[in-house]
Subunit: 463 residues, 2 copies
Amino acid sequence: MADEELTETPETEDESEAYALDRKAVAAILYAVDTGDAEDLRQRMEPLHAADIADLLEQINAYDRGRLLRLYGREIDGEILSELDETLREEVISVLSPETLAEAVREMDSDDVVDLLEDLEDHQQEAILGHLEEPDRVAVQQSLTYPEYSAGRLMQREVVLAPEHWTVGEAIDYLRGEDDLPEQFYHVILVDPRHKPVANVTLGKIMGSPRTTPLKEITEDVFQVIPATQYEGDVAYAFNQYHLISAPVVDEDGRLVGMITIDDAMAVLDEEHEEDILRLAGVGEGSLSDRVISTTKRRFPWLAVNLVTAVLASLVIAQFEDAIATVVALAVLMPIVASMGGNAGTQSLTVAVRAIATKDLTGANVWRVIRRECLVGLVNGVIFAVVMGIVGLVWFGSPALGYVIAAAMVINLVVAGFAGTVIPVILDRIGVDPALASGAFVTTVTDVVGFFAFLGLAAAVLL
Amino acid sequence: MADEELTETPETEDESEAYALDRKAVAAILYAVDTGDAEDLRQRMEPLHAADIADLLEQINAYDRGRLLRLYGREIDGEILSELDETLREEVISVLSPETLAEAVREMDSDDVVDLLEDLEDHQQEAILGHLEEPDRVAVQQSLTYPEYSAGRLMQREVVLAPEHWTVGEAIDYLRGEDDLPEQFYHVILVDPRHKPVANVTLGKIMGSPRTTPLKEITEDVFQVIPATQYEGDVAYAFNQYHLISAPVVDEDGRLVGMITIDDAMAVLDEEHEEDILRLAGVGEGSLSDRVISTTKRRFPWLAVNLVTAVLASLVIAQFEDAIATVVALAVLMPIVASMGGNAGTQSLTVAVRAIATKDLTGANVWRVIRRECLVGLVNGVIFAVVMGIVGLVWFGSPALGYVIAAAMVINLVVAGFAGTVIPVILDRIGVDPALASGAFVTTVTDVVGFFAFLGLAAAVLL
């Protein structure tokens, strides 16, 4: 729309294929599947990152996927399983041999095993737990006792910690002497004698400081402790807000039970956004690889709600059948008022839902935002009222019709700004996700008000 | 809507206030501003993280913000400036004393200075560059030569690197001897003699390996080199897709020029999502602290486009004035068909826009997805056709009206599925952001097709 937004396009375009799966590579892989050449297939899959293999499995159709898995099944490892969309995991796991599956889960971090198990059926869960060694199984089972979508499910058990009174030298000697350090870690967590985390020290600071420096003197300024029961969306928010790289997770007594790293928080942030964007459009979660029936089922509820609201709007129209029969122009113009209100309402609504998600819409500014949205509706309403008044006059030659549509436009756009802000705020306060339900309410309001204002004024003025 | 989505609510609710600014704290801060008590204000701001101070400045009104800055101006540091929304930076910078500003920018990383400068006016840019020391100024100016929204703008100059032939011992001795290590770093980048990055080694691996181990043997499996001209959205995608923590940035000759860390990539991912979600709703970028006029201007273009499409739809209705004058029930029912089509189209569209953004909708599956969306439209269309056929029959006692609305519903929902997928795919291919423009096209199609199918069939069957 606006100029400044178009300036981005060239760059986006240049690089838009960066990191997308290469069409030719996919074609070559499918050819290897067609010819049943397992060795050729293995070689062509070799250079792909686990996340790209997961994407490939999601993008090809179910028939090709089945054949590919039969040829390539043994190479499926824990990383690919972690990257795979939930909807495909059961399908893929059911094709793997018990040995392949056992090997795959044994090499995974505890948080990834938990993530894998969550969405599986009981017998598949048990099979996987059975493949784990005793301490890992206990760790995974403990994580599963935390609620779904909590920090406790997201955290890994593997942490590196040190007593708060240690020096840099002691930390280095400990780290260099320890055989079993986690694959990825960036901080040493300092804990007090009761195992409560008190600070983070980065490995970079430990590397760069004299051996005699107490660890306490080189701790990070920003230190956030995450309760194990915290909602994962809030965890992601904290990482993004405070630029955390890793954060300790504690139980209700404040004792260290695990650690969350930023890459997992980033994945959650991405999922939360996906959820918001899809919910705003009335689409349940799912993936492109879902089949027609499951997709239809997910789309249906929102369309059913929309049908009810559309019928409500029709009931309003039905009250004015006589007016419409007399002046058919009303039927021609009335969808314009409703449509403009719906769009303006969706604009306000989206801004409000997004501001609630980023914790930018609070008690401190909610009234100011509501007032602003109403004023924006008023200004745009007046502009479009003038335009539509002229259109009404020129098209149908009736000044009265012009006044009526102009007045209805102003009313509906102000109401749109008000409803678009107030409805998500109220839903949030009563504990309903505003992204999920606001759309239906707001468009009901703008449809009903739009038709009622336009037809009601017309009936009063024109008849 | 669906049951599984409601199960989340309790947890979300419990923690929904986590990390949000505390209402009482904000009130106490505003009270200190009212009484002009600078010392009290300083004490109350003290515990807040820079990001929260930035949020506070965004949430209070312009008058309070001005008074707060006059009392607290000297305490504004580089971190707060980096966290501040672009729209407020100029305002805040213009109140700071030159000394405060100079001190603030000197303590910032080069990437944050670049981020700060980008959106300022020329005279403010020069003032800030003037405060930097020579080498920093050159680094910032070089970064500014890269295009906006590119990896070159996002990267920091400060990197830690080592020749590829070094051992763990050599790396440790170098790191422990170096005075000027960056504040935050997690990897040592190995470079070849021509300064091209060849691998990453984590500090954890260096800590945990014997001194004689060559660094080459403990490099990370996943290693992505980012071209300095790459679009920042693709950079964020790569970090999320491949779980990168930091990645080297190279110039066109492949030589190392900087490094991007995951916290910056996460911030970009967040912004990209914000952009997508706002563009889908026809709202330009902006912030809650914007004034009425700038907000009105940003909302206007989309509403203007919507007015044109609504008038187009009205022109279709106008073709059938005679039919409507004869059977007024048509005017009552026609918005239902259009509204259902618009909603179904928005569902398909949102899924497609999102899948394009995550690189999940590619040449490999585009036809399958289009077919699926049309089939989903067909199945839902048939269900709602039956419902609306019955409603039409019962409400208006006319079987023919029931058949007509049923047929129009099926047609419009199939078209919605098709248009909702094809339009964003085509826009993406020709280099237009599908999130920006698809909505207008898709609802035009569903409005026009909906009114035309319903009124056309009615005219043919009923008159």
